[in-house]
Symmetry: C2
Amino acid sequence: MSDYLNLVALSKRAQMIEGISALLGWDQETYMPPKAAPVRAEQKKLLAELSHELHTGKEFEKALSGCINLENGRFLVPDLSEDQKACLRVWRRDFLRQKKLPSSFVQEFASTSSKAMFVWEEAKNGNSFQLFLPYFEELLDLIRKKIDLLGYEEHPYDALLDEFEPGATTTLVDNLFKQLQLALPRLFAEIIARQKNYPELDISPPLPLHEQKMILHALLNDIGFDFQRGRLDRSAHPFSEAYHPDDSRITCRKEPTCICDEILTTLHEAGHSFYEMGLPKEHVGTPLGQAISLGIHESVSRWWETRIGRSLPFWKFFYPKLQDRVHGELSGISLEQFVRTLNRVKPSLIRTESDEISYSLHVILRFQIEKELIEGKLQPKDLPERWNSGMKELLGVEPASNKKGCLQDVHWSMGAFGYFPTYTLGNLFSAQFFEVFSHHHPDWGKLVENGQFDFIRNWQQKEIFRHGRRYTSFELVEKVSGKKLSCEPYISYLFEKYNNL
Amino acid sequence: MSDYLNLVALSKRAQMIEGISALLGWDQETYMPPKAAPVRAEQKKLLAELSHELHTGKEFEKALSGCINLENGRFLVPDLSEDQKACLRVWRRDFLRQKKLPSSFVQEFASTSSKAMFVWEEAKNGNSFQLFLPYFEELLDLIRKKIDLLGYEEHPYDALLDEFEPGATTTLVDNLFKQLQLALPRLFAEIIARQKNYPELDISPPLPLHEQKMILHALLNDIGFDFQRGRLDRSAHPFSEAYHPDDSRITCRKEPTCICDEILTTLHEAGHSFYEMGLPKEHVGTPLGQAISLGIHESVSRWWETRIGRSLPFWKFFYPKLQDRVHGELSGISLEQFVRTLNRVKPSLIRTESDEISYSLHVILRFQIEKELIEGKLQPKDLPERWNSGMKELLGVEPASNKKGCLQDVHWSMGAFGYFPTYTLGNLFSAQFFEVFSHHHPDWGKLVENGQFDFIRNWQQKEIFRHGRRYTSFELVEKVSGKKLSCEPYISYLFEKYNNL
């Protein structure tokens, strides 16, 4: 058992170092003086080296090989508990994956993407895809090299997906996304036609930043966010960062925006935070104390943002409070008008500003393009054209510039290929979870209307959070719902919701 | 040279880890959610282990022994630059000191003082010295053990002083403090008698916290504090924390207090911050990029707090601004009345609330008591009585309770013996520096009156900051002033100041 205990100790140490790095990241986005950026980068680099050594070094390999056969995954120690077996499986998986990427490659990738991110920002500001193109090509070459190093069974893109959503395959995503593509554009067009009957109302009362923050604080208190174990601060882009169930922090925007957007965003980030706060403390530092995947994380955050934050019951509870706090600015708008406006559908150029219907269409386009690039069917130089025609086809709009098109966000310049599908997978997971949840809590709307939220978190705690990485996302969905992941609950939800609005 | 380069690399790495720990400490006092305290303690413990290993481990010892003879300090590498020799001297000094304390002792000390700090808080709240006594005795035993491990030439207390003020000896401090003790109580009594002619005025206009902070921000901007490389936040007790010249942060109190106190405190902390921001960036991670000692740090902070912040020229500049910002609350008080009130002398029970005259008397008492405890002339159980009679003798006041007496602050429970003298040494250093400074800048008062402060920082930069730890504090004072450290500049300053008030 000494090998196992050693693994636990190394894993805890590594996770503590990663946690410290996460806190440094939080500070960087919230309070760090701007000129400290280069020093911060060095600090994070040092911590990354330390944790990488702990995860992949000789000591870890020796201890791991003593407990589990690295080649075939057979356990080598008698009388392991189920918890221990689950940890060993994840450790082996992560170890084998990390070992395939030599540090020279990891460093080259980091330095290339860091250059590309820098140039991307310039290219975006100057609306010049040509400026970005050579860096994008260089990155793509490295992505292909990464795929070769990692290996795959069916499709090269599988190697990338697996990083963010273990167990996901291109075939699986392709099938799911094709169904969405059949259903959503039609629904989208229908709703847009129907919406013409309702004028668009202004639900953005101007509010000073500190009053916005007071509303968000009150909201977080209402939904049971524990300020003894978390915080709300401001940053350029909202995010959630946690390194322990007892320290999980979220941010709202530091520039004034529409309070309704901020409320939805805060619910979204609170969802991420609930997940982290709900991970079992006794397993901190081992895989059973970690979140499963980006997709499952997103399923919780989207749940709070869309299933709660965009719902009528929630606003029955919160709209009077909001009206109070905006000094009568919303007094001319009824609850029903407000909720309808909040859920108004609109072709948008950017995922982060999109409604629930077009959200996945953005993701689908990104997935298609990434796949075509990896398959060699699309040349990097043709990206803008492909992007624009894809937008036209899927969303019916075309960006006036690459700045609002294929250069719109940082992901590609970071080299984060295979990441985007998790956004939509998160919505699918969420819908499938919610179906079971609402079966257990048919009165959920009534409870939310009365300002009760604990039962939601408790359910998520019991069904999702407490498991850590005991299951993959696909296993968990099946365990919770008794069914394999499908698009059906998500599509039904959207149809039903918009038919009732 | 590879040994030398290796030393630099290890030292940089260790200092980076200590810097990360410093940032974690800053977060703990400013923004950390309360329930994260135990996790934070574990994170800091891990970082302390990592940096200790880098500083004292085999790799460091091997590299150091390759460059300098550990026994006699002779250099073993030809053609070392003066910078390199200075670094090697400090590395050797620190290494030999740290090696004398085995980690079992360091751990025992840490756990005993952590218990003692916990009990001290309870003892203080309950005003029960008896509760604290056994822990205090245990700590004292450990302090004696520490002295034995470290060794000393003349006086056991030297071993303790040397930690905070390298090169300081008990004899030296004793001599200086005796001179202060001859001069200050007499001056103190004279001023108190003279003050009777002037009624005490109220210069504490009530102000909401955010308005206080705006004033402090404006003040920091006026004196040239670089917010691109620093911050002002709030904490229970004001402090300054820096880990790099490009990230140096200070705090003001989070509970409302007198704005004048906050201004002086902020100037004090800004002084610490200026020192850290002024350390030469090219030497970050080596001794030449570090501050010399607590005493020199304090000389800069007290300079800004007392020589600037309590001066007439400063208030000629800042008083009108302050009056503006407190909504006319100070309009009935003239500049001269204001400055006289700010400098009013009063027997106080606590150093942190004391005027410039009695400040050192508090420190002297603490030094006397520590020395007597170490020499075995005073028994721990007799501490309260000794404290009270000392207060009576030196300051003419006696605390009504141990809470306001020997239990007043955390230092002893932390095991920080030998620390207090640096507060007064700082004032002596400061006065001796200022004598030279004012000789170079006889018009300093006029400049300050006009809101010019850069020339002060520039002088400090040139004479103090840029040297890092090239010299000990005593060497630096002699280099700058051409004279050995003495009390004369400090005593003259106080006599002159109070004669002119």
